[in-house]
C-alpha cells in the first residue's frame, strides 16, 4: 500500500464528544500508511440545522469547506461523521449536477467550488481505496472473546442516491472490515435502525426507547460489543446507556466502540492512543482480552489437540472395559 494523501474533515463532533473517533481514525490511517491533511480554516458543514431551513445556504456551508479542500489540491476528502458526509455529498452532487444550483451556492461563497473534490466516508476509503486485504495485513493482535454487532446508523448509506456507497438496506462494509481484521461479527438485524438521532434533547423518552431496542437486539444477536461509525449513534448508545437503563428498567452494560478503535486494537496500538479511556461504558475487559496473533495461534492449536484427545479418550475407556 503506497503512501496516499487525503484531506481529512473531522467536523465539530470529532473535536468534542467524539474525540476518540478522531484519535483512533488518525492512528489507524497512519498505520495504513495514509497521510491526512486537515484543511485550514474549515468551518461548519451545515449539518442538521441548516438544511431544514434553506438548501442553498446549507450547501454553501459545506461547499465553503469543499472549495478550501479543492485549493489544497487533494482530490478526495475523508469525512468520518456521516452527518458531515451527507452534507458534503449533497452539496457536491447538487453543484455538479445542477448548473443553476451551483451558481446560487457560489454566489454565497468567497471562493467558488468547481466540483473537484470527492467526499468519502472512512469506511468507503478502507473498503474501496485501501482494500480489505491490505486492512487485514496489518493485524498483529487478536480479540478472541469479542463478538461485535456492526451498527451503521440511518444515514451512512442512505439515501442511496446521495450516499452512493454500500447497500442501503443491508450494508456490509463494516462487517467486512471487522472480519478482515479477524474479529467475529454477529448477525445483527438492526444495522440501520434509528438510534433516536438528535432527539436526545427535545424528546429524550423517544431516544431511550429507540436506543434500548438497538442495544437489546445487539445482545440478542450474541454480541458483547457494538461497533459504530457515527458520533451521534455512539453518544446515544454509550453516553445515554445509563439513562436508558434507568428509564427503561434495563440493565445494559455493553461497550460501544468506534470501528476504528477495534481495528486499532487489532493493529496493536495503545488503548490510550485510541481513546478507549474516553468511553463511558468501560471497554477495559476488551482491552485486557487482547492477545497477540501468535498466542491466538497457540491457543487454537491447543484446542485442536484437546479435541483430538477428547476423541481419543473413549477408545481408551473401551479398551479398559474390554480388559476388565
Amino acid at each position: 500500500m503506497a503512501d496516499r494523501e487525503y484531506a481529512y474533515y473531522s467536523g465539530c463532533s470529532l473535536e468534542g464528544t467524539a474525540v476518540e473517533y478522531d484519535m483512533s481514525m488518525r492512528e489507524v490511517f497512519k498505520a495504513l500508511g495514509l497521510t491526512l491533511r486537515e484543511p485550514e480554516d474549515w468551518s461548519c458543514c451545515g449539518s442538521t440545522p441548516a438544511h431544514t431551513v434553506d438548501h442553498v445556504f446549507a450547501a454553501a456551508l459545506a461547499a465553503r469547506n469543499l472549495s478550501i479542500i479543492e485549493k489544497m489540491g487533494t482530490q478526495t476528502v475523508t469525512v468520518p461523521c456521516p452527518s458531515c458526509l451527507s452534507a458534503f455529498k449533497r452539496a457536491h452532487l447538487g453543484m455538479t449536477g445542477d448548473e443553476s444550483f451551483k451558481e446560487k451556492v457560489n454566489d454565497l461563497l468567497d471562493e467558488p467550488y468547481n466540483g473537484g473534490v470527492n467526499p468519502k466516508s472512512t469506511l468507503q476509503i478502507m473498503v474501496e481505496d485501501i482494500g480489505l486485504e491490505a486492512v487485514g495485513n496489518k493485524v498483529t493482535h487478536a480479540l478472541p472473546d469479542l463478538v461485535v454487532a456492526p451498527y451503521y446508523g440511518c444515514i451512512l448509506t442512505r439515501p442511496p442516491e446521495i450516499a452512493q456507497f454500500d447497500d442501503p438496506e443491508n450494508p456490509m462494509s463494516m462487517d467486512n472490515i471487522l472480519e478482515a481484521v479477524g474479529v467475529r461479527v454477529s448477525p445483527f438485524a438492526f444495522k440501520l435502525e434509528c438510534c433516536g438521532a438528535a432527539f436526545g434533547v427535545p424528546k429524550r423518552e423517544m431516544v431511550n426507547q429507540l436506543s434500548s431496542k438497538v442495544l437489546s437486539m445487539a445482545i440478542d444477536s450474541g454480541a458483547n460489543c457494538i461497533a459504530v461509525a457515527c458520533p451521534l449513534c455512539q453518544q446515544n448508545l454509550d453516553l445515554r446507556q445509563s439513562q436508558v437503563n434507568s428509564t427503561m428498567g434495563t440493565n445494559f452494560n455493553i461497550p460501544i466502540l468506534y470501528f476504528s478503535q477495534i481495528v486499532g486494537l487489532t493493529y496493536g496500538l495503545s488503548p490510550k492512543a485510541l481513546g478507549l479511556d474516553k468511553l463511558i461504558v468501560s471497554a477495559d475487559h476488551i482491552v485486557r482480552s487482547r492477545i497477540t496473533v501468535q498466542e491466538m495461534e497457540q491457543r487454537k492449536q491447543a484446542e485442536i489437540e484437546k479435541e483430538k484427545a477428547a476423541k481419543a479418550k473413549p477408545k481408551k475407556d473401551e479398551i479398559k472395559a474390554e480388559e476388565t
Binding site: D167, E169, N170, P187, A189, F190, E193, M217, D220
Partner: protein, 653 residues
C-alpha cells in the same frame, strides 16, 4: 389532377379547437383541389358515402381526409375510395386530431397549423402513384412458444381447428406456472387436476408436435412463411428410450441439486423428473450438479437405467421448421427477493415467496402438502403475508401492479387455515385489488370466514428474533405501528417479464415495454395482435395475468390464427422499398442496415451487382432509403419526391 379534401369534425374532438370551415375554405384556393368540404363524422357510414358520391359527382381522382390518426381509419378510407373506383393508395390522411386539436387549445394557431398540414397532404397526394398488392401462399402451420396454460390452450384450439401446431417449451415439462400451484382462486379447484387433462391432450393430440426443453434460436421470414430454428437442449437422457420409471432419480447420489420446479424449497437430485404429472414424463440431467459433469466420475444413473437411456455425450440439436403464424405465450418471471434486503429476502430461510409457499401447500410438493418452516421443519402457527413485495414500487423498478397477488394471498390464507386450524394469518396490504367474478367475495371470505387479519400498510422491515421473524409495519387505518412475531413470512414478490423476454422479442421483431412485457397492437381493440403481422400474444408474456385471462387470451390468439389461415393466399403491402437498378451502385449498404433481412444481392445479366428487395419480407420501415448514398432505393408511397412535395408546400408561404 382533381383532389377532394374532406375535413372531419370528429364531433367536438376536432371542431372544438379548429375552425374546420375555414380550413375547407382555404383548401378550395389550393391549385389542383377541385372540392373541399367539412363533415361531422367522416368515418361514419354517411360520411363515407359522401366521399364516394363526391368522387363520382366531382370527378375526383385523389382524396385527402383530414381527421384522426391513420392508425385508426386509414384502412377504412382506403376501402371507401377503392369502392368508388380509385386506387387505394390515392388517399392521404392529415392527422389534425392527435397532432393538433388534442394538443393545443389556441383555436387560431390550431386552425393555421391544420391548414398547413392539410395543404401538405394535398401536395403529397398529387404525387401519389397507384400501388398494387401481390398475393402469396400461406403455410398453415402455427408455432406456439411457451407451454404454460395460455400456450397450451392456444395450441389445443389451433389443433382442434385443424392446424398443425408446433409447441415449444423451454422447461422439461409443459404446464408452466399453473402446474406449480396447489389450488386456484376463487373456486379452490385443484390446479393440476384441471390442468393435467390439458397437458395430456397436448401430448396426445395428433396435430400437436411438442418440443419440450427447447428454445427458439432464430426466426426468419414474414407472415405466412416463417422459418424457425429450434434448439433442442441436451437432456443427457435419450427421451426415445426413457420410460420415466424414476429409478435413476432414486439412486442419484447428488442430493443437493437446485430444484427449478419447486423454486428451491427443497433440494432435488441432479437427474430428475420435475413432478409426477410431468408431460413428457422423462428424466433430465442438470450438469451444474451432476457428479459425472462436475467431478468427472459417478455414472450411477447410467448403471441403473434399465433402458440404457443415459448419454453423457449428448449435444444440443438444432431443427428447422416452417410455419405461417406464431403465438407467443412465454409467460412471466418473478422478482429475485435478494432485491428486497429490508425483508431479508434470500437471507432468512423463513422468509419465502408466494410460489414457494404454494409448493409447500401442494400435496405433490417437497413436504407432501404439510406446511413446514424451511429452517427447522416445524409447523408455523403465525404466518404473515406481505403483498406488493417489490411491486408498485418505483424504487424497485416495478411501478405496476402484479395483478393476481391479492387473490393468491387470500387463497393461501384460506388454505393455511384449512391445513393448520389453530394458525393465524396476517396480510399486510396496500389495496385489495380483486375485481373479477367472485373475486371480491373471495377476499372477504378469507377475512370473515377464515379470520385472516388484514392490515393496511406497508412492511418496512423483517428481522429474526430468536426462532421468530419480526415483521415491522404500519397500520395506516389505525395510524399505529404494528409488529407481528411470525413463524413464517410469505412475500408476494413482484411479477416481472420472463427471463430472456427481450431477446425473444428481438428475434420476433415485436415490441416490448421498458419492463420486458410484450406490447399489443392496440390495448383495447387489438389485444392479442402485435405490430408484426402473423405474431400473436397470449398470457402473461404481455403483462401479469391470472389463469382465466390467460386461457381466454390463448383462445383469442388461436382464433386470430384460424382467421388468418382461413385464406389460402395473403395480400402483401405494396408500400415497400424498390430499387432503381440503373442508379444502384451495388454498395449494399441497404442490405447491412435492413433490420428485417429483406434486401438481397442480385446479379444483372451484365454482371452488375445491385440490391434487390424481397417484397414480402420488407416491412416498409424506410431505413434503407435513408442509407442509400445515391438515392437508388426508394420506399413506395414515401418517395423523396412525395416527401419533398410536402416540405416545399410548407415552405411556400
Amino acid at each position: 389532377m382533381r383532389v377532394g379534401v374532406f375535413i372531419c369534425h370528429c364531433g367536438s374532438n376536432i371542431a372544438g379547437t379548429i375552425d374546420v370551415a375555414r380550413v375547407a375554405a382555404e383548401m378550395r384556393k389550393v391549385p389542383g383541389v377541385a372540392f373541399a368540404t367539412n363533415y361531422m363524422y367522416t368515418c361514419s357510414e354517411p360520411g363515407q358515402e359522401e366521399i364516394k358520391q363526391a368522387i363520382k359527382r366531382e370527378g375526383l381522382n385523389r382524396i385527402v381526409v383530414a381527421a384522426c390518426s391513420p392508425r385508426m381509419h386509414e384502412l377504412t378510407f382506403r376501402r371507401t375510395i377503392e369502392k368508388a373506383g380509385l386506387n387505394r393508395y390515392f388517399l392521404e390522411m392529415a392527422n389534425i386530431r392527435e397532432h393538433i386539436s388534442w394538443v393545443g387549445l389556441d383555436k387560431e394557431a390550431n386552425t393555421n397549423k391544420a391548414i398547413d398540414v392539410v395543404k401538405m397532404a394535398a401536395a403529397k397526394v398529387m404525387q401519389d402513384k397507384p400501388l398494387f398488392s401481390q398475393s402469396f401462399k400461406v403455410n398453415k402451420r402455427v408455432l406456439v412458444i411457451g407451454g404454460g396454460v395460455a400456450g397450451m390452450q392456444s395450441a389445443l384450439d389451433c389443433a382442434d381447428g385443424g392446424l398443425d401446431v408446433l409447441l415449444v417449451e423451454k422447461s422439461p415439462s409443459v404446464g408452466g406456472m399453473m402446474s406449480r400451484l396447489d389450488k386456484t382462486f376463487p373456486t379452490i379447484d385443484c390446479s393440476i387436476c384441471i390442468l393435467g387433462p390439458k397437458m395430456v391432450d397436448v401430448a396426445q393430440h395428433d396435430k400437436i408436435t411438442l418440443h419440450a426443453y427447447s428454445e427458439i434460436d432464430d426466426i426468419k421470414g414474414y407472415v405466412g412463411n416463417y422459418q424457425i430454428k429450434i434448439r433442442k437442449k441436451a437432456t443427457y437422457v435419450d427421451w426415445t428410450k426413457c420410460t420415466g420409471c424414476g429409478l435413476c432419480m432414486e439412486k442419484c447420489p447428488s442430493k443437493n441439486s437446485y430444484d427449478h420446479f419447486n423454486f428451491g424449497v427443497a433440494p432435488t437430485r441432479a437427474i430428475n423428473i420435475p413432478f409426477p404429472q410431468a408431460i413428457p414424463k422423462k428424466a433430465k440431467i442438470d450438469p451444474e450438479y451432476c457428479r459425472q459433469f462436475v467431478k468427472g466420475k459417478c455414472g450411477v444413473c447410467a448403471k441403473v437405467c434399465p433402458t440404457g437411456a443415459i448419454n453423457y455425450e449428448m449435444q444440443d440439436e438444432i431443427i428447422t421448421e416452417d410455419v405461417g403464424a406464431i403465438v407467443v405465450a412465454s409467460g412471466y418471471g418473478l422478482m429475485d427477493v435478494a432485491k428486497l434486503p429490508e425483508y431479508g429476502g434470500g437471507r432468512y430461510p423463513d422468509v419465502i415467496t408466494g410460489i414457494q409457499y404454494e409448493r409447500l401447500l401442494n400435496a405433490s410438493g417437497p413436504t407432501e402438502g404439510h406446511i413446514l418452516r424451511p429452517s427447522d421443519k416445524t409447523e408455523p402457527k403465525t404466518i404473515v403475508f406481505v403483498s406488493c413485495a417489490g411491486s408498485r414500487d418505483k424504487s424497485c423498478g416495478v411501478p405496476y401492479c402484479s395483478n393476481f397477488c391479492c387473490m393468491y394471498i387470500a387463497k393461501q390464507a384460506i388454505l393455511t387455515k384449512d391445513h393448520i386450524p389453530d394458525s393465524q394469518s396476517f396480510v399486510f396490504y396496500m389495496d385489495i385489488r380483486s375485481p373479477g367474478k367472485g373475486y371480491d367475495e373471495f377476499t372477504r371470505r378469507a377475512q370473515e370466514d377464515y379470520g385472516a387479519k388484514y392490515v393496511r400498510g406497508r412492511v418496512s422491515r423483517i428481522y429474526p428474533k430468536g426462532k421468530k421473524m419480526v415483521v415491522m409495519g404500519a397500520d395506516t387505518l389505525l395510524g399505529t405501528k404494528v409488529e407481528v412475531e411470525a413463524d413464517l413470512v410469505v412475500l408476494a414478490n413482484a411479477v416481472t417479464a420472463a427471463p430472456g423476454a427481450a431477446q425473444l422479442a428481438e428475434k420476433l421483431h415485436i415490441s416490448y415495454d421498458t419492463f420486458g412485457f410484450y406490447v399489443e397492437s392496440h390495448p383495447k381493440l387489438r389485444p392479442v395482435e402485435t405490430n408484426t403481422a402473423g405474431v400473436y400474444l397470449a398470457g402473461a408474456a404481455q403483462g401479469p395475468k391470472d389463469i382465466p385471462a390467460s386461457v381466454g387470451q390463448g383462445s383469442a390468439a388461436a382464433a386470430k390464427v384460424l382467421a388468418l389461415f382461413s385464406k389460402d393466399m395473403l395480400e402483401s403491402d405494396p408500400a415497400v422499398a424498390k430499387v432503381n437498378e440503373n442508379t444502384c451502385v451495388g454498395c449494399l449498404k441497404c442490405k447491412m442496415t435492413c433490420p428485417f433481412g429483406a434486401v438481397k444481392e442480385k446479379e444483372l445479366r451484365g454482371g452488375k451487382i445491385v440490391a434487390n428487395v424481397i417484397e414480402t419480407v420488407c416491412a416498409g420501415c424506410g431505413v434503407c432509403t435513408s442509407t442509400c448514398p445515391c438515392g437508388a432505393i426508394q420506399l413506395s408511397h414515401f418517395t423523396d419526391n412525395q416527401l419533398l412535395a410536402e416540405v416545399n408546400t410548407l415552405c411556400q408561404k
